[in-house]
């Protein structure tokens, strides 16, 4: 039988501005119809969503619950050692079958009517299926094989687990492209990650405003004043941005020439002595151990922010490594899940450095707390904006890789991928 996929009808009608990627209608951050369309076209569409780390389900029977868009999802490792994912919604009447964030189970039994599912999401038991004493029971032609939990395709890459509801999604490495895969490998290949902590930040804004922020290399030194205030700016930083051909994924990176940095710091030390005489009011860190780090990757790159459409971030800020999962929670709210990482072979000194550098990131991070509120400033700012649009022209109008980080190219890249996914 040929199955003809039925595309759900779009609820919202959006006409994209004729200027192209340099203009984004504010309605995209407000409209309930757009939000519902995104669930169909993006989160249930041909894209890969980050689910969890392999290290979070190391043993047979381990599971973790998460979300893909609005949909609750469970990730498991079955007795065959493989990772599976399925919707956390009983095929009977829709109740969640898994009520824990993580754990170990032999199967999942719905508390409502005890329909029981295997670790792969197949229906293996229905309470009173044959009735009692020959009375009652399911219809005679009821086939348990037809009533499994809705399964996701699963793919892993260097310890990251991604899932997709779509059968049309390209293989993960193809979806990401070579450059992005390389940059993920740079941080995670052949390493055994250890979760150091998990934090959730509820952002008072549409999910796309946070994703724009992640991809925005223009704002970093303007909104985040920690480094400049404490005179930790390194003007010699070399770096750039990579935007993949689809536009949806990006990497922003910068590096410090360590020899030059050391020389600069020696100079800064003598400057400091001078400046102390000139001015007592200069901000200086009392304890600089918050920034102490090592060149873990041997390439001098001290910052690499990598994003994968539609909601994944891999962050390396010195030795502070984290993954962030961006989950939409209605038009005006976003759940940002931080997972701080170390690695099994960390020395105690390196582990301590990671923990101290974590002060830079997260809900209270010296260079990230502003990102928690700035999306809300936009969300509130665009109330009543009617058919207003944002202007995204820094660095031109293209969505291509660039040696300069003073560009909004990766934001335009996001909108390129978004328009493509949404058919706008």
């Amino acid at each position: 039988m040929n199955i003809i996929p039925i595309m759900p009808a779009r609820r919202a009608s959006i006409t994209w501005p004729s200027e192209g990627l340099t203009r984004v209608p504010y309605a995209l951050f407000q409209d309930e119809g757009v939000y519902a369309d995104e669930q169909d076209a993006i989160f249930r569409g041909p894209n890969w969503s980050y689910l969890c780390l392999e290290a979070e389900v190391p043993n047979q029977g381990d599971f973790r619950s998460t979300f893909v868009g609005d949909a609750p999802v469970v990730v498991t490792r079955d007795t065959d050692g493989e990772i599976y994912a399925f919707e956390n919604r009983c095929a009977h009447r829709g109740a969640m079958v898994c009520l824990e964030d993580q754990g170990n189970a032999r199967d999942f039994s719905c508390v409502y009517h005890a329909w029981t599912y295997s670790l792969q999401g197949d229906l293996v038991g229905v309470a009173f299926k044959d009735g009692i004493d020959g009375k009652g029971g399911m219809k005679p032609d009821f086939c348990t094989g037809d009533h499994g939990l809705r399964k996701l395709r699963v793919a892993t890459l260097h310890g990251l687990v991604f899932g997709s509801f779509s059968d049309d999604v390209p293989p993960l490495d193809e979806y990401l492209g070579e450059e992005i895969v390389e940059r993920i490998a740079r941080v995670l290949e052949n390493r055994k990650p250890v979760v150091l902590g998990r934090f959730t930040q509820m952002l008072p804004n549409n999910w796309k405003l946070y994703f724009e922020n992640v991809k925005d290399s223009y704002h970093a030194s303007i909104l985040h004043l920690f480094f400049t205030t404490f005179q930790l700016n390194r003007l010699s930083q070399r770096g750039g941005i990579i935007v993949d051909p689809s536009g949806g994924h990006h990497v922003s990176y910068s590096a410090v020439d360590h020899a030059a940095e050391a020389a600069e710091q020696r100079k800064a030390t003598s400057d400091y002595a001078d400046q102390k005489i000139r001015s007592e009011s200069e901000h200086r860190l009392e304890d600089t151990s918050v920034l102490a780090g090592v060149d873990e990757f041997g390439d001098g790159v001290t910052l690499q922010i990598l994003s994968v459409f539609p909601g994944f971030v891999l962050q390396q800020i010195q030795n502070a490594i984290a993954v962030r999962q961006i989950l939409p929670r209605g038009t005006q709210q976003t759940e940002l899940n931080w997972t701080y990482l170390g690695f099994e072979d960390d020395t105690p000194e390196l582990r301590e450095m990671r923990l101290r550098q974590s002060n830079l990131v997260g809900p209270a991070g010296y260079v990230s707390m502003e990102d928690g509120c700035v999306g809300g400033f936009v969300q509130r700012g665009i109330e009543g904006a009617g058919d207003g649009r944002s202007v995204i022209e820094m660095g031109g109008d293209s969505a291509e890789s660039s040696a300069s980080r003073v560009t909004e190219a990766s934001i335009r890249g996001f909108w390129k991928a978004y328009r493509n996914a949404m058919g706008y």
Partner: protein
Amino acid sequence: MAQDIYQLIARAQADYVRCIDDGDLAQWPDFFTDACVYRVTTADNYKRGLTGSMIYAASRGMLIDRIASLRGANIYERHSYRHLLGQPSVISANEREARSETSFMVARIMRDGSTSLFATGRYCDVYAVEESGVRLRERIVVCDSSCIDTLLALPL
């Protein structure tokens, strides 16, 4: 002794929250000894023994830096806290050191007047007992929820 230490801790904590809610934040580090630990984490991480923190200060200098950054560098919408503390539960005490736990609720009052329950949890503390009173050698702020609304700027 038990009675005294209870009163010393209760007094120190009353001053601590007054400093954050109504006083001069610059004096907040003075509630800690020079060598100290201050962490803000969640009950889930704490239970699992995960040491990653939203805030981690491993010295009084790092507390001073936190306040300097909040005042001079970080950008966030103006807001204040109102702490309500439970009675301290003194877990152990001797002449030099006391361990206690105290529950807290913190309301956050935003610039526009909106007031919400921002955090609940407990302080897991180690106090150094000194002639003039007690100071924190370690405070682990264990938030009950894993979720922080918008951002965490002012200390808990």
